[in-house]
């Protein structure tokens, strides 16, 4: 035996060598390979064509075209399908697969009682239409989208991107065609008249991790984020390991080093805004507030007929206040606290990465100007800052503790002398934090720009007038400014949300008596437009500022200020949008971002289908290329991952790699048939009359008659099949014939995914909340579980009431400390795209389901439920509980064994009230009057065993 193996191994080695020599043209010899340009091309790189449905002997078993492929392969081995599973098994299997939830007892009863011939299909249709379908399959997509609620790395700060998660759920429920689903995630923002929803979809790209550790180079981790995006697109849509080509031309697939960077170039052109996603109620509230403000303003102007004259006079005077400022170009900014800066085109700077609670920004610049009289610090809004800034706190607020200016001749840079500031002015300061506090020599007092709700996120400026003009030096003057930001206080979590300055810029003037321009940026710009040429909206903008300058309008101004306190702040989400000026992309030699090579333009790998002729060379074009019908990979990759979810292994066993070294598909024709069906959405009638009467019809959830790119259509094709519906019983004969069940002569028996473990257990206890969507929640977590996080002080504030019991997919996903009871059941970390979950079976899982507080709570709830709903005698209660957990009634052995346990525990709790108090219920004050604690405690242990049964957490 050994020597045979060795010989085969040697042959494989020779074959591999031969393959290497032939690359990139030829790959493997397989029935589905085809000749392209005289070379044998890898099957997966050629668009699938619809195969003919194979003929089978046992056509009576065919209930979906899928079965023909499976049966044909089985029959070749002298095998056939197993008998259909019993109905209780079927409904549980189907409910778990389509909604991630076990069926309720009522649903089971209804199904068992439904004798109509299409009872099963009705069940399929009901479950596909369930809003929980979107949760279950949305979560499936979120694995590939590497969704998480924190940024990862050391700081691992929270991020708000759950609106993307909810968009995914809604998209699945609406059965959004997969081509559209693809385009919106890659380039929703670039679609004509892009909606908020379509922008939210680009969160797919933003799910990359972000390193905000102290002193990181933001560019390094921007690049790493893009590398992750290429990887995610490669795995999620293409089934290609594109990232192998980051450092060199792919060893096995025909992707060149240069092509990696051409692909990367599509993604290298963006800014990364944090976008508000108002709910309809919030939009309405904002509109109504603005309307009420406008009404008050209208009333005010109606009362004062001389307003045009007064405003004209004010405008004339305001025009004098602009000042003449020279922006300091070629400045350099560094910080003491490891924060690093990006310089924007207008010479403003924006800090990236870490946002520590204290630090000093130093800006140095050289100027030839003589007689400088004042210095202006502009704090500017930017859509990449929280709520657009200009500060870095969660509200976009900035504080400045101290401003210091120094100078020296350029030739003697180390001879810095302080510049005395005579007076500081600002266009705005919060009442207790005037600008004077920034020049008082005290680091503990600060200027704040917080103008309150609806008003705080606008450009601000401060001007520091010098006591004596700075004459300047021949050969150039060096200026150094220190912006100190010190100890704002706040909780541990807030320390990393410190109100440091976000985007800023420094200018100087030589005009006498410099002061901060009081006018907001937009008003200053509008004053340049003659009144006659302004639109009514523009005129209102000017008036809106003007009225605040008139003391006699105080009543209206105060009324409006009070109204604005109600300004709602919607949730935000992370999106992308193109930067104004394209960025040049270079090859990185050996993948090293510090070794840029030649420049490349955006482009897709040449061995795949051509870039659409009419598509723009940007992300939208990339998205259209991915969604093109000519794409040989995406349809196959997606149907394969769907198949894998149902059967435990894909038709291609490496869902992330359809390249030349992937395993041979178990059923190549079925893969292609499903892929074509997905792409084109027709039920094949190629076999003519052989189409069985019970063949599935198209899912019509989308209200269209085309099922092109419909996932629900694919689901229905699969779950209607006899292959899917067969029993999972494993006989020794079947085990011998096909140990790994590649041929599917039986249904798989699979431990459910992490989320379903929790959902099943909570659901059996009657605790599960079925609320869909919204911010992520914080169910109970074991004490000290957060301690492994670098920021261990970060609090996990356990959610109250309903949010304790939400479906597992809403659990706040902290990358550095993934929720333990989900992680232990192989929920992916979200460090990178995951297209195949591992399914492990470990003692730590046993400890979790036995002892974790959340699981005990479910056992207690289940015990109470048995007591309340389970019938009068113990046997009835046991039967009820068994059914709640497994969907079926126990057999006699099972029932007896559980009753035995009950009896034993009754004995143990008798006279042990202390133990019974702990075990019976978390809520002893609200127990039914006639309830015996010892009895309830015994039942809790029985319920705990029920929840821990292999069958409870298995799809069989």
């Amino acid at each position: 035996m050994k020597s045979v193996c060795k010989r085969i191994a040697l042959l494989c080695f020779v074959f591999a060598l031969w393959m290497l020599c032939k690359l990139p043209g030829a790959v493997w010899l397989n029935s589905v390979s085809a000749k392209v340009d005289g070379n044998l091309a890898h099957w997966a790189f050629i668009a699938p064509v619809r195969p003919v449905l194979p003929n089978v002997k046992n056509s009576a078993r065919v209930s979906s075209p899928v079965d023909r492929f499976i049966l044909a392969a089985l029959e070749k081995q002298g095998l056939t399908l197993s008998p259909e599973a019993d109905r209780a098994t079927l409904i549980r299997r189907l409910s778990l697969d389509l909604t991630g939830l076990p069926p309720t007892l009522k649903e089971i009863d209804n199904f068992l009682a439904d004798t109509s011939p299409n009872a099963y299909e009705k069940l399929v249709d009901r479950l596909l239409a369930s809003p929980h379908y979107g949760e279950r399959w949305g979560r499936w997509w979120l694995d590939a989208a590497r969704y998480a609620d924190t940024n990862g790395f050391e700081k691992d700060r929270d991020r708000s991107i759950w609106p993307y998660r909810d968009w995914v759920i809604r998209s699945f429920n609406a059965d959004k065609p997969f081509d559209q689903f693809t385009i919106e995630q890659i380039a929703g923002d670039l679609l004509p008249n892009a909606t908020v929803e379509q922008r939210v979809a680009t969160g797919f790209l933003r799910n990359s991790m972000l390193n905000e550790e102290g002193a990181v180079d933001p560019e390094q981790f921007r690049v790493e984020g893009l590398i992750d995006r290429v990887d995610a697109i490669g795995k999620a849509f293409l089934g290609l390991t594109i990232n192998c080509t980051q450092c060199h031309t792919h060893k096995f697939d025909p992707i060149k080093h240069e092509e990696y960077y051409r692909f990367y170039a599509f993604l290298n052109q963006d800014e990364e805004p944090e976008m508000e996603v108002p709910t309809p109620a919030e939009s309405k509230k904002r509109d109504s507030l603005l309307a009420r403000v406008a009404k008050l303003e209208d009333e005010l102007s109606a009362k004062h007929s001389d307003l045009p004259q007064r405003m004209a006079a004010w405008e004339a005077q305001a025009k004098q206040q602009a000042g003449e400022w020279t922006v300091l170009e070629n400045a350099e900014v560094i910080a003491t606290n490891g924060v690093k800066f990006e310089e924007l085109l207008d010479h403003s700077f924006i800090p990236r990465g870490d946002n520590p609670p204290t630090g000093v920004y130093y800006l140095t610049a050289k100027t030839q100007l003589k007689n400088i009289t004042g210095i202006r610090l502009e704090l500017m809004t930017d859509h990449t800052l929280p709520r657009t800034g200009p500060g870095r706190s969660t509200q976009g607020v900035a504080w400045l503790s101290e401003f210091v200016a120094e100078t020296a001749p350029v030739s003697q840079a180390d001879k810095l002398q302080p510049l005395k500031v005579a007076e500081a002015t600002a266009d705005f300061a919060a009442p207790n934090n005037p600008i004077s506090l920034a020049i008082d020599g005290n680091l503990k007092s600060s200027w704040s720009i917080d103008a309150g709700p609806g008003l705080r996120n606008q450009d601000r400026r401060a001007v520091f007038a010098l006591q004596t003009p700075l004459a300047g030096f021949d050969g150039g003057t060096l200026l150094k400014f220190s912006l100190s930001q010190k100890e704002f206080g706040g909780s541990a979590a807030e320390r990393f949300e410190a109100p440091n300055i976000g985007r800023f810029r420094i200018s100087v003037t030589t005009a006498p008596n410099p002061k901060a321009d009081p006018l907001p940026t937009n008003v200053r710009r509008l004053l340049a437009v003659p009144v006659a040429n302004r639109t009514p909206e523009q005129q209102r903008e000017v008036f809106r500022y003007y009225r605040t300058t008139v003391p006699e309008f105080a009543d209206t101004n105060n009324a409006i200020a009070n109204l604005m306190k109600q300004w709602p702040y919607p949730a935000t989400t992370l999106t992308v949008t193109p930067r104004p000026v394209p960025r040049e992309t270079h090859i990185f030699k050996r993948g090293d971002w510090k070794r840029p090579g030649e420049a490349v333009t955006p482009g897709t790998p040449s061995f795949l289908h051509p870039f659409p002729a009419t598509a723009p060379r940007n992300r939208l074009g990339l998205a259209q290329w991915l969604a093109a019908k000519e794409n040989p990979l995406t349809a196959r990759v997606i149907v394969n991952r769907v198949w894998q979810t149902y059967f435990g292994q894909g038709l291609v066993s490496s869902p992330e790699d359809f390249g030349t070294r992937c395993e041979t598909p178990s059923h190549p024709e079925l893969l292609d048939w499903l892929a074509v069906e997905f792409r084109e959405g027709r039920v094949s009638t190629a076999s003519g009359s052989e189409r069985p009467s019970s063949a599935p019809t198209l899912a019509t959830a989308r209200g269209t008659d085309s099922a092109a790119w419909s996932l629900k259509h694919i689901h229905k094709l699969i779950v209607m099949s006899a292959t899917y519906r067969q029993s999972s019983h494993i006989s020794p004969e079947l085990l011998r014939a096909d140990a790994t069940n590649r041929l599917l002569a039986r249904a798989p028996r699979l431990r459910v995914e992490a989320e379903a473990v929790r959902d099943i257990v909570l659901s059996a206890g009657g605790l599960l909340s079925l609320k869909i969507g919204g911010p992520s929640v914080f169910p109970p977590i074991p004490d000290g579980a957060m301690a492994v996080s670098f920021r261990s002080r970060t609090v996990w504030e356990t959610s109250k009431s309903e949010d304790r019991y939400r479906r597992a997919m809403y659990t706040f996903w902290k990358r550095s400390v993934p929720y333990p009871s989900l992680s232990v059941f192989d929920a992916p970390n979200a460090d990178m795209a995951c297209t195949r979950r591992i399914r492990s079976n470990s003692p730590l899982q046993a400890l979790t389901t036995l002892n974790d507080a959340a699981f005990l709570e479910a056992a207690q709830a289940l015990a109470m439920r048995l007591w309340k709903e389970g019938g009068n005698d113990d046997a009835a209660k046991v039967r009820y509980g068994f059914r709640l957990c497994t969907g079926r009634l126990p057999d006699e052995f099972e029932q007896t064994r559980l009753l035995q346990l009950l009896q034993k525990e009754q004995g143990r709790f008798a006279g042990n009230t202390a133990a019974a108090v702990y075990v019976s219920s978390p809520d002893l004050n609200n127990l039914p009057a006639n309830m015996d604690l010892h009895e309830l405690a015994s039942w809790t242990l029985v319920a705990r065993v029920l929840l821990n049964l292999d069958e409870t957490i298995t799809k069989q």
Binding site: S653, I730, T740, G784, S842, E894, A937, R944
Partner: protein
């Protein structure tokens, strides 16, 4: 190791668990050793589980690893790398030619050089140089191997820790401990194969440092916690006695066995085993954690105090873990990031760790464990020869992150004891002789564990991944 392992493991789960369960009872101790080379899709499936003990590629010097990770980056210049040259240039800017292309984290390139404030002396017959900050380690100077010429790729904590632990700066790769557990399996039937202990702060790299990446999750590290149960959910819920737990497990075993007989799914046998091992863990882990069983002399040797959450306790626990067959014990002590007050900080952290490190070596040695246990000491990088200090003087006299040259030490398991390997330049900025890159260290340790680091691989995404990526050279000169 063959690239089809994953499929094989999946397949074998189906085929063999039943046999495993029936023939081997509930333990895995009786499992036959399976040669790694035979674990191949073409070979007949053997009764094994993924954690069964396995023989490596060739006879090994070492069987297990204790990794004392000094997270934050201890200053080699304060402890091991004596640089009289640095004193000469103290206060002067670093020569610009050294800084060409060098990335610095916090400090500016013109930061001044900063000499150590510690006295150094030679110790042992080997004459190993150590500073006075190390008051205990000199006792084992002739038992350890000091490598002064370590180099790494990253200069920020999380990426550098991830790199040190997985061989890649990007997240998602299996950790060192996972690779070793994957390669060697476990010799403990009632404790996890790969245990993580930590003192001081949480680590920058988070749980990915001991994650299994794309390897099956059975190979990931199990963190033992500092408070409450050593393992999450280890203790029975309050009020549930050990007898009650046994009752429940007996019922579960019977019911699951009944289902196994009905369905024929061998995975159920694995689940029964998991529950039984969990039960044994419930007994053995608290016993393990209970340091009061140790002699007074041993406790004093380490400076351990039962009930405390200290590094010293963790070192003692590490010895207890390897005694009980645990394959890989990973300690973290995240406390060495001395951007300021590197002098004071080095003293303070050595007070926490130095005695225990020394005790661990002495204790392993006298118990005959050192010869086949590898001990590794070191951080994710070292610290700059240049000073870092806030301009206001509040946080003065520290050092920034430095990846070009730093010191680690190793001991036991086939390393050549009592040598100091590698040299840095006059100011300790670059390696001057015999560089040892992180990949080389990984390759060398895997070699001592019996692996060809190029063959300990796992097929994922169409590629055979390994701990050393495409690098790594075994450094034979530090082997006994």
């Amino acid at each position: 190791m063959n690239y089809r392992n994953e499929i094989k493991i999946e397949g074998r789960k189906l085929v063999t668990r039943r046999h495993f369960f029936k023939d081997c009872g509930i333990g895995i101790g009786a499992m036959a050793l399976a040669s790694l080379l035979d674990r191949d899709l073409l070979a007949a499936p053997q009764g094994t589980n993924p954690l069964a003990p396995k023989a490596p590629h060739f006879p090994a010097k070492a069987k297990r690893v204790i990794y004392l990770f000094q997270a934050g980056g201890p200053s080699q210049l304060e402890m091991f790398d004596y640089k009289p040259g640095l004193a000469k240039y103290n206060g002067k800017p670093c020569p610009p030619e050294l800084l060409k292309g060098q990335t610095l984290a916090f400090i500016k390139p013109d930061a001044a050089l900063f000499s150590t404030q510690f006295k150094f002396a030679k110790h042992g017959q080997s004459g190993a140089e150590m500073s006075e900050a190390l008051m205990h380690l000199p006792k084992v100077a002739d038992d350890i191997t000091i490598i002064k010429s370590m180099m790494t790729d990253a200069i920020n904590h999380a990426p550098a820790q991830i790199f040190m632990q997985t061989g890649s700066v990007q997240f998602g790769r299996p950790s060192f401990g996972s690779w070793v557990t994957y390669g060697l399996g476990s010799e403990s039937r009632d404790l996890p194969a790969f245990v993580v202990l930590s003192s001081a702060g949480g680590t920058s790299g988070g749980s990915s440092l001991w994650g299994s990446g794309f390897l099956p999750t059975v190979y990931q590290g199990v963190p033992f916690r500092r408070t409450g149960d050593p393992i999450l959910s280890l203790a029975n819920p309050r009020g549930v006695s050990r007898e009650m737990q046994r009752d429940s497990l007996d019922a579960l075993k019977d019911l699951n066995q009944h289902l196994l007989d009905k369905t024929g799914d061998a995975e159920i046998a694995t689940r029964i085993n998991s529950f039984e091992m969990a039960y044994r863990m419930q007994e053995s882990a608290p016993e393990l954690m209970d340091l009061s069983k140790e002699s007074k002399e041993t406790l004093a040797l380490y400076g351990a105090e039962p009930g405390k959450n200290t590094y010293a306790n963790n070192c003692l626990l590490a010895r207890r873990l390897v005694e009980r067959g645990v394959r890989f014990v990973q300690l973290y002590h995240e406390a060495w990031d001395h951007h300021g007050q590197v002098h004071k900080g080095t003293i303070a952290q050595n007070k926490e760790t130095d005695q225990a490190n020394t005790a661990l070596i002495l204790d392993l040695k006298r118990r005959g464990l050192l010869e086949d246990t590898i001990v590794i000491w070191g951080g994710e990088f070292g610290r700059t020869p240049m000073v870092q200090g806030e301009p206001d003087g509040s946080n003065a006299l520290g050092r920034d992150h430095h990846n070009k040259a730093f010191t680690m030490w190793v001991a036991g398991g086939g390393f050549k004891p009592g040598i100091t390997f590698g040299e840095t330049d006059e100011i300790g900025f670059n390696v001057a002789r015999d560089p040892v890159h992180v990949h080389d260290l990984h390759a060398t340790i895997l070699h001592l564990l019996g692996f060809d680091h190029e063959r300990l691989s796992y097929r994922f995404q169409g590629r055979d991944f390994r701990l050393t990526d495409v690098h790594g050279v075994v450094e034979n000169r530090i082997l006994a």
